[in-house]
Symmetry: D2
Subunit: 476 residues, 4 copies
Amino acid sequence: MHEKCGVVGMSLTDRSAAHPLYYALYALQHRGQESAGIVTHDGFQQYDHVEMGLVGDAFTEQALEELHGTVGIGHVRYPTSGSVDACCAQPFSVSFKSGSLGLSHNGNLINADAVRDELAAQGHAFTSDGDTEVIAHDLARNLLDGGLIQAVRRTMGRIHGSYALTIIHDDAVVGVRDPDGNRPLCLGKIDDGYVLTSESAAIDTLDGELIRDVRPGELIRLDPDGTGYTSYQLEEHTHSAHCFFEHVYFARPDSVIDDNLVYEVRRELGRQLWEESGVESDVVMPVPDSGRAFAGGYAEVADGVEFAEGLMKNRYVGRTFIMPTQDARERAVRLKLNPIKSTVEGKTVTLIDDSIVRGTTSTQLVEVLREAGAEAVHMRIGAPPIVAPCYMGIDMASRSELIAADRSVEEIREEIGADSLAYLSIDAVARALDTSREDLCLGCVTGEYPYDIPDEAADRDVTRPAIGEDPVSPAD
Amino acid sequence: MHEKCGVVGMSLTDRSAAHPLYYALYALQHRGQESAGIVTHDGFQQYDHVEMGLVGDAFTEQALEELHGTVGIGHVRYPTSGSVDACCAQPFSVSFKSGSLGLSHNGNLINADAVRDELAAQGHAFTSDGDTEVIAHDLARNLLDGGLIQAVRRTMGRIHGSYALTIIHDDAVVGVRDPDGNRPLCLGKIDDGYVLTSESAAIDTLDGELIRDVRPGELIRLDPDGTGYTSYQLEEHTHSAHCFFEHVYFARPDSVIDDNLVYEVRRELGRQLWEESGVESDVVMPVPDSGRAFAGGYAEVADGVEFAEGLMKNRYVGRTFIMPTQDARERAVRLKLNPIKSTVEGKTVTLIDDSIVRGTTSTQLVEVLREAGAEAVHMRIGAPPIVAPCYMGIDMASRSELIAADRSVEEIREEIGADSLAYLSIDAVARALDTSREDLCLGCVTGEYPYDIPDEAADRDVTRPAIGEDPVSPAD
Amino acid sequence: MHEKCGVVGMSLTDRSAAHPLYYALYALQHRGQESAGIVTHDGFQQYDHVEMGLVGDAFTEQALEELHGTVGIGHVRYPTSGSVDACCAQPFSVSFKSGSLGLSHNGNLINADAVRDELAAQGHAFTSDGDTEVIAHDLARNLLDGGLIQAVRRTMGRIHGSYALTIIHDDAVVGVRDPDGNRPLCLGKIDDGYVLTSESAAIDTLDGELIRDVRPGELIRLDPDGTGYTSYQLEEHTHSAHCFFEHVYFARPDSVIDDNLVYEVRRELGRQLWEESGVESDVVMPVPDSGRAFAGGYAEVADGVEFAEGLMKNRYVGRTFIMPTQDARERAVRLKLNPIKSTVEGKTVTLIDDSIVRGTTSTQLVEVLREAGAEAVHMRIGAPPIVAPCYMGIDMASRSELIAADRSVEEIREEIGADSLAYLSIDAVARALDTSREDLCLGCVTGEYPYDIPDEAADRDVTRPAIGEDPVSPAD
Amino acid sequence: MHEKCGVVGMSLTDRSAAHPLYYALYALQHRGQESAGIVTHDGFQQYDHVEMGLVGDAFTEQALEELHGTVGIGHVRYPTSGSVDACCAQPFSVSFKSGSLGLSHNGNLINADAVRDELAAQGHAFTSDGDTEVIAHDLARNLLDGGLIQAVRRTMGRIHGSYALTIIHDDAVVGVRDPDGNRPLCLGKIDDGYVLTSESAAIDTLDGELIRDVRPGELIRLDPDGTGYTSYQLEEHTHSAHCFFEHVYFARPDSVIDDNLVYEVRRELGRQLWEESGVESDVVMPVPDSGRAFAGGYAEVADGVEFAEGLMKNRYVGRTFIMPTQDARERAVRLKLNPIKSTVEGKTVTLIDDSIVRGTTSTQLVEVLREAGAEAVHMRIGAPPIVAPCYMGIDMASRSELIAADRSVEEIREEIGADSLAYLSIDAVARALDTSREDLCLGCVTGEYPYDIPDEAADRDVTRPAIGEDPVSPAD
């Protein structure tokens, strides 16, 4: 399960934007590890540096120094649509009649093919199959007839889907959030300028202050001289479709998204989990690191249960790991997460995680804990079951890989071998976020999306129990 | 502060040892990230593969497949003495009259130069300036006149310092621990063989069981057919000089060292910390990840104090990070550890860490918490002040860099800007380890070493307050 | 002085085109070492692989195997206009309304900016500042209204400059040569298909036969089934502007270009050189490797002069060479070309090269030969003096760097320190090529170009003697 | 067929030796491309830098600047005995009782195992299985009892085989050549110091003058202050065993070895070839580049035959070349060497090369020339048939791979498909080198070696015609 991108935009009074953009991307690194890029403008021309790899590897000091100008945008990427190669790394830069344009995109258009076809019918040729080039071409075309704000408005009228965009057009930097606010974007003030970014933690990194979230359908234009910003409500906002998984999984705990501090939301989800399906046990422990805040909240309100780390995470287990045999593949979980016997042996254990996707890791963890001597293993999950894929910009898994796509909670419990299993209800999620179900995108836990997804029906040919009901296994 | 090596040795009944050795090294990766190596023997000849870099990068599947034989040793390295280049990576292999020899060494000899000079006077020539080559040459010489056990005994009679060694001589694998047991080494049983390793977590990774620690001065010889082992007490054991920092900092929490589970020791050190210098505050929070277990123990026995994560760690901050200006260098701490405002703002905070070396990070964290709105910041450290360098195999810092080398606790408190500061007493450490002060190496916290360190006196020309007294700042 | 690209196109009956394209690119490697790429089509979709570096480094066996289809094009590149980075490597691929398109381009458009502006005014956005993207967009636009042949005809009506193109549109492969035939392109037959390529040596590599040169203004369309080809004379051919430097310097000696075998042309230029300015000397020697064929021809007709290798070339001197001081920089020529004393000492020497660009190497060689004991050093150059830059696709040097831009032959002789110096006349070049001056592009040796080069006048503000007159130094 | 190493040593008056050593290694690059290294000494300590790869890749400017001192040695390596990895790269450095020692070795010891065993019996342990470590250990042992000259004398009394050594012991640099002078070594003077090197071309590169060859059995000691040198005849010289293949193949044409300029020797061998087995043909052409000087000499004395380049060499064909099928493997020769039709078609051709090892390339070239229309292809080889492997430091091929090991000249002619084939006689080689057969090592062309090669007899179990007789195929 991967977040698919992080974006940033910045305008400073008289300092080069390259280093601050670099630090901001470092703070957003968890949102994309495949490529990193920065585009700046110095009033005369556009500069760009985009490379595959982590932020720290993609830039050298010299590369930063060659990115002249006090305004710029940046991007970290995990591939959405479009293939995973160098040509799809962002920001996406083009030159056209009225100058130069750079785009950073987080999200997923659902009508990209249709818009591309329309543009192609007008003679456009595309070098990639990504959404972002489609937006860039449409903007370039609209900019023939008007200014940037007007052009973005027209493009927003044509594209549908989720997007948080930062755009640089010559020395103008703007940020735009889709009319439903699906992907996060916020505005902050630093000492000598303004910042637009996917997460407020990037503003903290620059010793700045979060001003507010960009509103769904709003465009924020940063003044090129770094002294202020202007808001344009390009699309009327009627309801939201915020992605609740940003809070559950993707975003950093220290970020504030749509007015909620992620860490506090997770603690609260943990408390709700105890309220809805608390179970007596000797010890409650998180799956590190994802379940830690949930477990903290759960333990806080649970009476008498000891909170302890019961699984040691090996931080060196990375992509380069040789697993030649099936035997070894199973052992990999012991390399990655080893039980701390003293907190497990002879005890009943409640294991807290944020979500279950395929179920493989959960199955292995339950087994590992049993082997380490756990009397009982209860799993509690700080979100509802994931029953359907995400079409809005998150790489979860295909429907057939999702353990909850066609299984009841009891069936999942049996599959992973836990003594009991409980998920959190959707209502609890809404409560923790202090909003209504209607203002959340719940596609992955209900199968009902805020947009008509092309081919979604065809994709949905698996049998499964009624969705969103009774998230607690009967075994509890 | 870096642990300087991890070692492993193994003998299996009829499976190639290469993959299990690789997994064991993966489990020991935290003990050395500069190089990794494996030496095996198939009864006819010795095979080796040693490379710079992490375990996952140093080996390919093909490299493992070419390491034939059911017995072998392995090593991960952070450089001790000797320069940091490829030639000093281990295991160190030599061929000599009686066959081939491979050595993996964790520790530091204090009379390496003297032994080298003696060997040189007999005509030996050395390709490196490392300890390990000295041991290898001495062993090779002793093996002219006797068997392996006898040769190791003679070599142990000549070398002084800390060492945990795994040695492969043709198809014999042995493990040896120095007579004071300064560096850890333990013995385990897996399904089809026996394992010697720096930490028991490596045995867990192979689904095995820890049998026991190797005793100070003991040599364990694994049967070449993987069916058993023999113990030889080569040096009489009178007292120990176990490194307590293994428990405080270096070892994995899930390892058992000298009969103590590291995680439990840290929890207990946290509890002792509350007993000795507990302070009322709204919230207690760890410096992640090093202070977490300490903070858990502290919070467990502290009444009414909320345990929370207050600092978010950016796991992507690595070695490749551009910090061109002093300004940016200070900001680096915000990139690495960002406060979670809700758990800090308007609150009194107790921040728990395992140790303070230079004090730079502590200073920055206190400042970061104050900027995030903390009313007060109390620091509690789960170990005594580090007043002197380690000469026994840990890369701490030079004496002049140690903040506690010439400062009282109150002076350190002032330096780092905390409202109060307390370290743990040496007695509390001994209690937590269920041993006496006399059986611990306390050199780094007392300046008195279990061995005469050459040039240590010359090195000690800094004024400092009496050592080991009153670890609590008067401000508390 | 660098050739700027090599192109190839291929259609086979039923074998994958990837390997043959790879071998063809290997044969064209001398025309571009910065990047290499192949685009194929299997009837359903287009595949591409483009990487920086030499052909041998850019492709792996797996990369070739994933390039499905019996038709394809390829490219090796030395950057023309456009920056030297990954995004400008070719073939340039786009998808558009009617399918997919790949282009390989050798040459240089002189009105690229104007065409780009026109397309931008219609809303096109460009990801690079290269010529080739302009051609691709224009083609894509023209393909809205017609077939490929018609679209290329229209595009050719808009673009001006030098070009040899191979184009793949879905499974159709075509080759086009500009109306003046400035850059070479030829057609060949191999066992199971047809090949279009910059040089016939690539056809030899595939054990095929050269059919003929593509005519200026002609388009050759390869049948998708590999069984034949069709010719379309898209622009009427009135006169040629063949680049004579292909014969003098760039092309392989074993290639046939515009009906002339390059090796024979060079031998003939050498013979002409003797006719025009032969000088008595003990020995005649080439500057290796460039002057070898010229010297062979010269020596063949010279009476009594001994032909010998007098300079030894170090083939390992490459790009990674450390030259920290001016002193060392001068020594570099001795590393690269060392005299063989026996053929130089005490002798009068005629040194033959193909051209002089900056004059630095010539100066050093004369000095090196004198130090080795040469009694006299006569230089003979197998081409006229280069007095002006190339705007048609060759990277020669800027005007101010050209030694002949503002010097008479006598002044050059003095500069390089030779006893005598003679260039070849333009008429001799025309004779050797068996054509008229009017059918050659002589821009670099006359300063008069077959096209109006924008900004060429401004560029030409250096004083120089009358061009094209008296190529022989008075000293002879 | 590969030369196996190049060595250099240097002492300068007051300039750092690092850069001159680097340039010298660049000039010796053809003698070894696997690794490169330099060891220097500044009067206080030894510095070294050894890396895998070409000279230009192995050193950076910074690496050179860190090699302090005015004296040093260097090495380029193609692996002799010992495995091909980083640990066997040279110079080989050791520290021992009396200081530090670095060795660069070209050659091959035939009793290395025996000497190693003797040292091992005294307790020595070896990190590699290379000759050079054996020499280093023996020297270190001998240096216990005496000075460097005395120690080298003793070591020379124990080792047997071929060697040209440069040795640095603290700030003393010496060069030694084995008593038979098998491998080359010479002495030169540069502006500010003295140089010992495998080939005089390296002295030219430094603008120096060759003084003379080091004599067989002689040691030259360079004064540490760069102002002179002293000669010690350590072993009496009775006869020589110079390697004639240095002149035929390995050495640079511009080097002088044992008083003969290599280029002139090759020209003379070509002339002798015409005398012994000249054949009428329309054209004589070299296999580039190895046969060029031979062909030049041949053509010079041949009446009426045209000398021409008939094969074009593709200089980009390197190690990274994909050849998936047998078909492609055969084609590789066309990629590497393409015929120039005009010089081949309809003509009788004499193709000149320096030697035939396996015969594969010769077979392909004959075929390629026939396909290009040659009426007849006569091969003439500038050396006698290679009938046995080299045990003295050259990597030729195993006996079973040598086409001439068990075939008569006529059988070889048939195998490669030439119309006629002739080798040069051994007497002609001796004449060209102005020496007697007795002073040459002719092992590879007679099977009789100047030393008793262990296991050579066992190796020689192939039937072959009488050796050294009648090198001309009856077909001529």
